[in-house]
């Protein structure tokens, strides 16, 4: 087991001609942690990873690995190993040769390489399959060979570019757990790229959420989910009901927002917006489907949303109720299935309530497009 090596991006800009792919990225990644970059397609995740592995030089700014500036150091000299989106196994080499290619480069003899390959094959539960060609393996097995090949070089940092995206759902979930276990076992820093928020939330110690080249928020999964920094993060990670309005009053970290359709809502100001949200500002209120419930007492004032049920879905664990919301958008409410009779029915007008602590106000901003 190694001590993890930390990574630091300082004011990193990456441009392709006039196009800015990464804008002023400042990231600190703790040694030995599992760090994810999460964002929609084309937001610059791969670009960041390529700059860490050395295939791309940042246009501005610095990349430090273990405190050392990586400027001018090529990919073959960096203590990183990259697992490609399509794995990029060498099709004409046997599995064991694939795994130990980095040792071959270092001039390690064949017997020693074979021995190391067998150890790694044991680790990835492919004992005895070293003499196959990659084309003779299943998708999940190829995946594990790619991981073993990267680990064989004993890198300080493992970089993974959406390595699970080609797998089917079951295998993907299985490999998530496996990856996390491998990371704990070897103790090196993992930087993981994904556009799948579930993947990022379940595996990571920290997550950076990106939107076309900009990093909106870096924190652990709970903070990303419960206390999003921007409307983009709030709408990209998990599901969220959005209500637009104007800030009416502010006191003690809470704000009352006058919404167009649902009246005044009292909610918590997002941590990132504390201090820069003023009375009269355009704002957005985010309430998770699971934070909504049917009001126990519909008569008292405030924090009530009145809406018509237009659809219902039963999912086993919960049932989802869709109500007519703002500007043609649906409001979604999820109620945990506790075996009780449902209080909802089609075309019924409901009064919903929520805990103000679970509703977040943020300054008006861009949402993730569906």
């Amino acid at each position: 087991m190694k001590d993890g090596v930390s990574i630091e991006l300082q004011d990193v800009w990456i441009r392709f001609g006039d196009f800015v792919a990464v804008r002023e990225a400042n990231v600190h990644i703790d040694g030995g942690s599992f760090f994810s970059f999460l964002g929609p397609s084309g937001c610059g995740k791969t670009t960041i990873l390529r700059s860490v592995s050395g295939f791309l030089d940042p246009s501005e700014g610095k990349i430090l690995i273990g405190g050392k500036d990586m400027a001018g150091i090529g990919p073959n000299k960096r203590p990183t190993a990259l697992i490609f989106q399509n794995l990029a196994l060498f099709p004409l080499m046997k599995v064991w040769e694939n795994i130990t290619f980095s040792l071959e480069v270092q001039g390690v003899g064949k017997a020693a390489r074979r021995k190391r390959a067998d150890e790694l094959l044991d680790m990835i539960a492919l004992t005895g399959q070293g003499d196959k060609l990659p084309s003779e393996l299943s998708g999940g097995q190829k995946q594990r060979v790619a991981i073993a090949r990267a680990l064989c070089a004993e890198p300080d940092v493992l970089l993974l570019d959406e390595p699970l995206s080609a797998l089917d759902l079951k295998l993907r979930q299985h490999m998530r757990t496996e990856l996390r276990q491998i990371q704990k076992r070897v103790g090196i820093t993992f930087i993981y790229i994904t556009h799948d928020q579930g993947e990022a939330l379940t595996m990571s110690d920290s997550i950076a959420v990106m939107r076309h080249g900009i990093i909106d928020q870096i924190s652990d999964g709970e903070a990303i989910y419960d206390d999003p920094a921007t409307p983009f993060v709030a709408s990209f990670v998990g599901e969220n009901n959005v209500f637009r309005g104007k800030v009416k009053s502010i006191d003690n970290g809470m704000a009352v927002v006058a919404t167009n359709r649902t009246g005044d809502l009292r909610c918590r100001i997002g941590t990132a917006a504390l201090g820069n949200l003023q009375t009269g500002d355009d704002a957005m209120v985010f309430i998770r489907p699971e934070a909504l419930s049917i009001a126990a007492d519909a008569t008292d004032a405030g924090n009530h949303i009145k809406a018509l049920v237009i659809n219902e879905e039963f999912e086993g664990l919960a049932y989802h109720v869709f109500l007519e919301g703002d500007a043609g958008k649906e409001i979604k409410m999820s109620i945990t299935n506790q075996g009780k009779a449902r209080e909802t029915s089609m075309n019924k007008e409901l009064v919903l309530e929520f805990n103000p602590e679970q509703a977040i106000v943020l300054p008006f901003g861009e949402l993730a497009s569906e």
């Binding site: 990919p75 190993a81 990259l82 399509n86 990029a88 060498f90 004409l92 290619f101 480069v105 070089a153």
Partner: protein, 309 residues
């Protein structure tokens, strides 16, 4: 597929009319244009060289005379082997091999570059620049080479004006003009098969190898070349066969003292009027070339089907 048999399947897929056309066209091409002429040459090579009236007469029997002549020389000569012809034969094969390796060395980097760059405008221009010179016919190209490699040609003039040499170099006598001409003539046949294969090589494999610390030569040795092997062997086979069988370039660019084996064959057919002997020589050239190619393929573990790539 198995149960129905290849032919039924073939006709069902292409329809009767198209299927029939394909079978007839390929059959015609194979039988009339390739097999029959070669068979008649083979037949010729085993016959005596007879004046026309005696053909088909009692003297017209099969003989190994011409093959013997190539190996042993004229009966009653002092040498026990046909040193001249065999020497030319061996030199031709070595020179063809040399031209092949020269083309491979020149074309591999170019094909790699073409195949791995993103196929942008620049690459298309480069490919066009490679193709356009082939619109110029072979004879004209060969004579153009003769001129630039001549005593007062561009190359000698340039070298002399730069002070590298005092007197013009005899590129023709040294066969440099010949090797350049042959090498140039078949460059495309080497580039395109290699380019085709390398184009389909996943770039990430190269980056993965680089990421694992591999220097560039090992990337080529372990990843690119094994992958490109079918293209390389296909290119080498064509260049070798065509160089060994070339006639115009050696005729025009060859030095006065160095004959190409095809020139000897040509002489037997034409000046000598001895068709059977020419046929025998040509058959030997063809067979030996095929044997060389097949043994090379075995040596480098290339499958026959790979040549079609």
């Amino acid at each position: 597929m198995k149960s129905k048999g290849f032919m039924t399947d073939f006709f069902e897929r292409n329809g009767l009319a198209l299927g029939l056309y394909l079978v007839l066209a390929v059959g015609f091409w194979l039988v009339i244009l390739i097999i029959l002429p070669q068979l008649s040459m083979l037949d010729f090579s085993f016959r005596h060289h007879l004046p026309p009236p005696e053909m088909g007469g009692p003297k017209d029997v099969y003989t190994l005379e011409h093959y013997k002549f190539l190996v042993l020389g004229a009966q009653g000569s002092d040498a026990s082997y046909n040193v001249v012809d065999l020497g030319v034969f061996a030199r031709t094969l070595f020179a063809a091999l040399f031209v092949t390796l020269l083309d491979l060395a020149l074309c591999y980097p170019l094909a790699y570059y073409l195949g791995q760059s993103n196929g942008g405008g620049f690459v298309r221009v480069l490919v066009l620049l490679l193709i356009i010179p082939y619109w110029v016919n072979e004879i004209l190209r060969a004579f153009a080479f003769r001129i630039i490699f001549g005593d007062s040609g561009v190359i000698n003039e340039m070298l002399m004006s730069m002070g590298v040499i005092d007197a013009p170099l005899d590129f023709i006598r040294e066969n440099i003009a010949l090797y350049s001409g042959l090498g140039y003539a078949y460059i495309l046949l080497m580039i395109f098969p290699i380019y085709n294969v390398i184009e389909s090589l996943d770039r990430n494999q190269i980056e993965a190898a680089r990421d694992m610390g591999s220097p560039w030569w090992r990337i080529h040795w372990r990843i690119v070349i094994p992958y490109a092997k079918p293209g390389i062997s296909s290119g080498c086979t064509m260049v070798f066969m065509l160089s060994a069988g070339a006639l115009a370039a050696p005729q025009i660019l060859g030095g006065p003292s160095s004959l190409w084996f095809t020139q000897i064959i040509y002489q037997w057919f034409n000046q000598g009027g001895n068709w059977p002997r020419g046929a025998a020589y040509a058959i030997v050239l063809l067979s030996v070339c095929i044997i060389i190619v097949l043994s090379m393929m075995r040596l480098f573990k290339v499958k026959m089907g790979d040549l079609g790539k």
